[in-house]
């Protein structure tokens, strides 16, 4: 028996497609963000509040993933921006090929910000690179403050933690300081915002974070062009 070293990524086909997407996003100066959470944490609500805050002239597009139904795309389409539903038909995560397929009839020249809402799942989406600039994890206060310890992969790989439904804090036994500490014990430099999509508390902070990221990309693009 001979041992032959292989040393390749298991998901190298996905990574190859994701790298191609990342290159196309860079060419068109698109900020692509991949939103991940468990089902019902409020990704779609956060996107609703986000889209409604934008002027119609903003070049924003959304891909939203679910196992079944077009419900989320319907909810998000009413803000007037391009929205496309990806129904995976059973698959518990989005992969790079689904993104590539979904983008085939969109002209990337017309997009500055691409928001991807992943399938509700804290485990599997963390393994699949979609070519995004950053993964964002949404955790709602009706879950548990130990979620970052139970699902370290996604908290480790996400740049920003969005703690949602903070309007419910008086009614649920959720220790928000412990949640933040737990997430930083998995990912020391985690950025964190606290929001409520109902009362709109904290949304300004989230939108400012988004603005900073978009500004940084524009500055980098301008510097590269000059």
């Amino acid at each position: 028996m001979e041992r032959v070293p292989l040393e390749r990524k298991v998901l190298n086909e996905n990574d190859r497609i994701a790298a191609g997407l990342r290159e196309r996003f860079a060419q068109h100066n698109i900020l692509c963000l991949n939103l991940i959470s468990s089902p019902g944490s409020g990704k779609t609500s956060l996107l609703e509040r986000t889209l409604e805050s934008f002027d119609r002239s903003e070049r924003v597009a959304v891909l939203t993933g679910d196992i079944q139904t077009e419900n989320d795309a319907k909810r998000l389409a009413r803000f007037g921006f391009p929205v496309k539903q990806i129904t995976t038909g059973g698959t518990c995560h989005l992969d790079a090929r689904m993104i590539e397929r979904a983008l085939f009839d969109w002209s990337l020249e017309d997009i500055d910000l691409l928001l991807i809402e992943n399938v509700g799942n804290l485990v599997c989406p963390s393994s699949y690179d979609l070519g995004e600039a950053a993964k964002l994890v949404v955790l709602s206060v009706t879950e548990g403050e130990d979620k970052p310890l139970k699902y370290p992969s996604i908290f480790f790989k996400s740049q920003l933690l969005i703690l949602n439904k903070i309007d419910l804090l008086p009614y649920v036994p959720f220790d928000i300081a412990a949640a933040e500490q737990n997430s930083r014990s998995v990912h020391r430099d985690m950025e964190i915002v606290r929001v409520s999509c109902q009362t709109r508390e904290g949304l300004a902070e989230w939108l400012a974070w988004l603005d900073r990221k978009r500004g940084a990309l524009r500055s980098a693009a301008a510097a590269a062009a000059s």
Partner: protein
């Protein structure tokens, strides 16, 4: 449960490599799974066995090397595997550490019958 897809990707790689070693049989594939990879080793083994059963790939074993989170201390240079809730260096307690690994999802090696490589080359 995406371990089925992950196991399938491993088998795709094995099939591709089998074409390079047509005269030999690949008996084992070694996979590294990091603590932060989001892949459960037991579920992965279960899916792998189910996918291999009654195919031309039999007998094909899976060996999983589980890789904990690893850090190196900037202050004293010590490398260590971190406990679940503490990054700090166990030697000097400094929190300024660099991430070394623990998010692996890699195929490390194949075990092929003797002589297969020469025959396949």
């Amino acid at each position: 449960m995406h371990e089925m897809g992950i196991a399938n990707s491993v088998l795709d790689a094995v099939r591709a490599e089998q074409l390079r070693f047509p005269s030999g049989h690949i008996h084992k594939v070694g996979v590294r799974i990091g603590e932060l990879a989001g892949v459960d080793p037991d579920a992965m083994s279960f899916c792998f066995e189910a996918l291999v059963r009654d195919t031309e790939l039999e007998p094909l074993a899976l060996e999983i090397e589980f890789c904990p989170r690893r850090f190196q201390c900037h202050a004293c240079g010590h490398s260590y595997a971190a406990s679940r809730d503490d990054f700090a260096c166990p030697e000097c307690a400094m929190p300024d550490v660099q991430f070394l690994g623990g998010d692996e999802l890699e195929i490390a090696y194949l075990e092929v019958e003797d002589g297969a490589r020469a025959a396949g080359a």
